[in-house]
Symmetry: D2
Subunit: 355 residues, 4 copies
């Protein structure tokens, strides 16, 4: 099967290549770039030296393929999706352009209306753990925000089963520098970025919209329209000194006094068969909870939790590699679903110890 990538010079493109070039069922046919046409891929992604001889091509000249991945800036795909669909039979779009189900959320969170409501309607939110069936049949699958998905997967069993106070949901995320992309900036200048704990989005981060959307499905899998039951997520994201990885610490308040076993059961019910979700909750050792660095390069979302013995709080820890389960890995998982492959194909890396 042939796959191609639009916009392959950034970090998400790089990670898609790392995964797809080793995927046993696909051939990477073409990778486009605006700035690097005719350059060897490895000049931009030095880890590809001696691995592939592909060169970047211009998007306009891409040949047709089975699955087209797009790793372009937000605001691009909503204008170009029709062209993309001429190149790829199916498209997995990693930008934000097809993530939000409610068209009103685009002006509210992204500052401009959506430009292709028709296609927006048919797109599936590319999180197999929540929307596997829809993804299987979709022509357009949207990626998800990396911060969003860590919180969503961490909290989904609690919200689906309406176990928590919807008004006091605090998500406090810590994220590595690769999440800000390959473009340099003062905030990513090493002397300014090294060693920080920087609240780069104290409030109103755009991924909040995705969290509130995905945590709003009712037990039957329908998006709730009852405004009184809409979750209100209080989200803050901090840059910390790592390159890859997200840890989202989710503080929620239980509606009823659940004990550890009951909470385990909830998670097992929703995730028992998921190949990429692991519950990490040890009594001893130094990795009693999820740890992002251990799953570098892996597609896992590791989830742990602890009941606060002196209040109704439940704290949930959710760790991912932002470039894998947060972006490229989840996109390839979607591709596997769309193509009927084993969902783990190409995604068998399980991380490192030590790293």
């Amino acid at each position: 099967m042939k796959v191609s990538i639009v916009g392959g010079s950034g970090y998400t493109g790089s990670e898609l290549l790392r995964v797809l070039l080793r995927h046993p069922k696909v051939e990477v046919q073409e990778v486009s770039s605006e700035h690097y046409v005719d350059k060897l891929l490895y000049k931009v992604h030095p880890n590809l030296r001696k691995v592939t001889d592909l060169k970047f091509v211009p998007r306009e000249k891409m040949k047709s393929c089975d699955i087209l991945f797009t790793a372009v800036p937000h605001g691009t795909s909503m204008n170009s999706m029709e062209e993309y669909l001429k190149v790829g039979t199916k498209v997995v779009d990693l930008s934000a352009d097809f993530r939000l189900r409610n068209p009103d959320d685009y002006p509210a969170w992204y500052g401009h209306p959506h430009k292709n409501l028709e296609l927006l309607k048919e797109a599936a939110y590319g999180l197999p753990e929540l929307h596997r069936d829809q993804i299987r049949k979709a022509r357009i699958v949207s990626g998800h925000g990396c911060l969003a998905v860590s919180a969503i997967l961490g909290l989904y069993p609690l919200f689906k089963n309406r176990k928590v106070d919807l008004q006091h949901v605090v998500v406090d995320s810590k994220v590595g520098s690769s999440a800000a992309g390959a473009e340099e900036s003062t905030s990513s200048h090493h002397p300014e970025r090294s060693g920080v704990v920087r609240p780069y989005a104290a409030t109103m981060h755009r991924h909040t919209a995705e969290m509130e959307q995905e945590l709003n499905y009712d037990a039957k899998g329908a998006l709730s329209t009852d405004k009184t039951t809409k979750p209100l997520v209080s989200f803050t994201a901090h840059a910390v000194d790592m390159v890859r990885g997200i840890m989202s610490t989710c503080h929620v308040f239980l509606n009823e006094d659940l004990d550890d076993k009951e909470i385990w059961k909830l998670y097992r019910k929703e995730y028992g068969n998921e190949p990429f979700i692991r519950i990490v909750k040890e009594q001893t050792g130094i990795y009693r909870f999820p740890e992002p660095k251990l799953i570098t390069g892996a597609n896992f979302c590791d989830i742990g939790f602890e009941r606060d013995a002196h209040s109704r709080r439940l704290v949930v820890f959710s760790a991912i590699d932002n470039l894998m389960k947060g972006a490229a890995g989840s996109a390839v998982q979607c591709m596997n679903v769309m193509c009927g492959f084993d969902e783990r194909e190409g995604l068998r890396d399980f991380g490192f110890h030590p790293i």
Copy 2:
């Protein structure tokens, strides 16, 4: 004036020395250690090479001094305070043994009863911003937890003025490795500690007790006994990849719809004259909020905040150097208060850019 240190081989002792050896009004007379008696200080604290020729002495042979600082493990001072008071006219004890006002909190949070209720009663909680008058007159001043103080200072104006929901207080802290002390352990082994975001205290951290105590003073400065108004703090601490520094992100929910100006006003009212508290809240730039690394070696507590426009949440950021305002710096500030010195004496380092 002569000062001495009991237990000066750890990180708090080291930082006390860094500050006191440059303090214009004091002479460091003696430093004790169990393990390093007769060794030059600089063999343990290599930054003291060519700075001082002092050697560690045994505690039993210490001469009398004006102020005795103790940097000993928890559980030691409650047994030895009477001896300490024979050495030092006044004692600043950096352990947890004299922090909690309610004797019942010791069995509850530290697992054993307090052994000297008499002296516990007379000790002052060594946070000048809250207890300056008491510290001035006290014979025993207690240090505070480093994580505790970051949250307390960040939240105090809101709690004193009863502006927040007391039941939904989330404090999510990120802390450097020096906070765990000089003793090696698997969790501090570099390959296991580097690059982590490790929830080392998901719930029930002992500093919670201090937070709930200090945020419970009423507007008249008395410790409230009304159980219905006792704050309930949901506290989680994460180890991140830095050596020094604490960032406490405090998520609270306002009782009334305060805007930025009103919140500024609250903080200014409480902290307007404080030499070591700065409000950091910029519209532009990359350091719009407090940043622990910038205040390495400084005694500042930098506080910033942001209103969540789509909920009642207020997020407050509080940054300190855990060894300075979190421990040694605050202790020397107390000494300055106790001795009638300018509070800034010896504490004029203002941090680095870049670092």
Copy 3:
């Protein structure tokens, strides 16, 4: 094919597992440990959670297997090799016990005589790039020092072809903390290890012996006995702030005035067909030379060089992942050679960008 590991609780054992568990031609049968018998592997190596259900076994009860890997402390294998050979048809020993060809080097560099000269004689030095034929037929293959191999591979073409001054060979290595192993120590305590540039072996590092041995083969592949042509390596190793990776900067002085092309040619002649050696020498970009972090988890040795225009110096950069080409990866490459597999089998990871 069945493989087992003696001493699988350390970092080399962990990396062997990471590679072997994904190797398409082998089954990991057993892993022994002294301390963790009956414990699930993933309790020690958290990246193996949900990957394998194996438990540690005692060495004494190991079943026979095709290849036995040993990852035990130096000084162990020379006593136990005969037992190992009862378990494994062939043995790949990652300790230092079978590395040095000259028995006199053991007392000189390791402080004790070798205990099994018979088996020492038959062992092959496990570096396929230099000893492929010997490895193919060997019953015992020795691993190599991680620092040693980075220097050896970087310099081998120059020495084999006698192009450099043998008396002025400076190897200045920078290495991550995982090279010191899983055992905690003061020098690996995070507050003391983070951010350092620590000369942990200023001179007389044991790996010097391996470098001087392996750079002493003549053009016919025989170990030279001419003492006047024995290379003298001036080696210094520094700990820097990374977990994985070695960069060895080799400063040598050319006997003749070779230009870039001639040097390229030398390297191509020796390494042209090597699957795991890449020459990295770009005119532009930020990765003009090898970079250890880019090959995290890969078995590559990346080599670059630059002629000093104002002297006879040639500087050679050689980068590896100390746990891969430095230890486990190279061991599995040896296994592939010993078993007639494609040498790249199980070793197809090519690193990350970014990481």
Copy 4:
């Protein structure tokens, strides 16, 4: 005494401010900037918040002062020195424009001729340890390269006393990201800079010229003109993962078989009274040699060494804070010399443990 700074928005300017604002004998009068005129200093250097209310001024409007520091890009001062001398009675220029004694070295190493040979002639090289008398009387004092000074101070006693082979001098430096300045670039982009060991100047680094110049003074303190005795320095600089700090590892080959004591004696002879040079050479402990991070913010140059027992090599380690002894600290030390102050004034910070 009044001092001003031209070009105070970069990292050297920032560090000058950190030192000068706490210097008991000077008042910082003005700080110029091209880009930030009228902005508060602390908007650019966030560590100056609540420390100074100064704003950046345009260079053209600077008032006269006693000492003018310049922290401007290379190539600027040679054109503007006459103007600077109208502002400052004396000038300390931290650029490269007045460092090299031989005018021919400018085209050779900087690619353009010097534009003011007259003033070049009168400038002193601002390293008090080598040129104290000249600095005392000079009107123009030049800063030095940060990498250069670490090597020069490490090697000076050996070269002055002609103890080493001048043709085989290898200097292998490891340096933090602040040395590359405040301007962002791809090579300083955090995901690309974090965790690297990057040879950013494999050969022909400009600081080589300074090293070869300063190591060429004969025992009488005159710059040798004997070409046969000119040292040839083989210098390579690596970026490693730290913000501040330089470790230069200098590998030299002794002309005679000196033992440790004799080497100590050489260093003591030259440096015995130097306030900022310390010999660090311990038998035990984890800081047996100099460690850059321990002297963060201090003006020390820490020097250690070890004889290679199996060759004539001597390895010398030299550690500095690149912004202190490498730039701003050394400049203020020069100012102290020029003004007859105690050389340590304003430079009493002695670093941190831990950090």
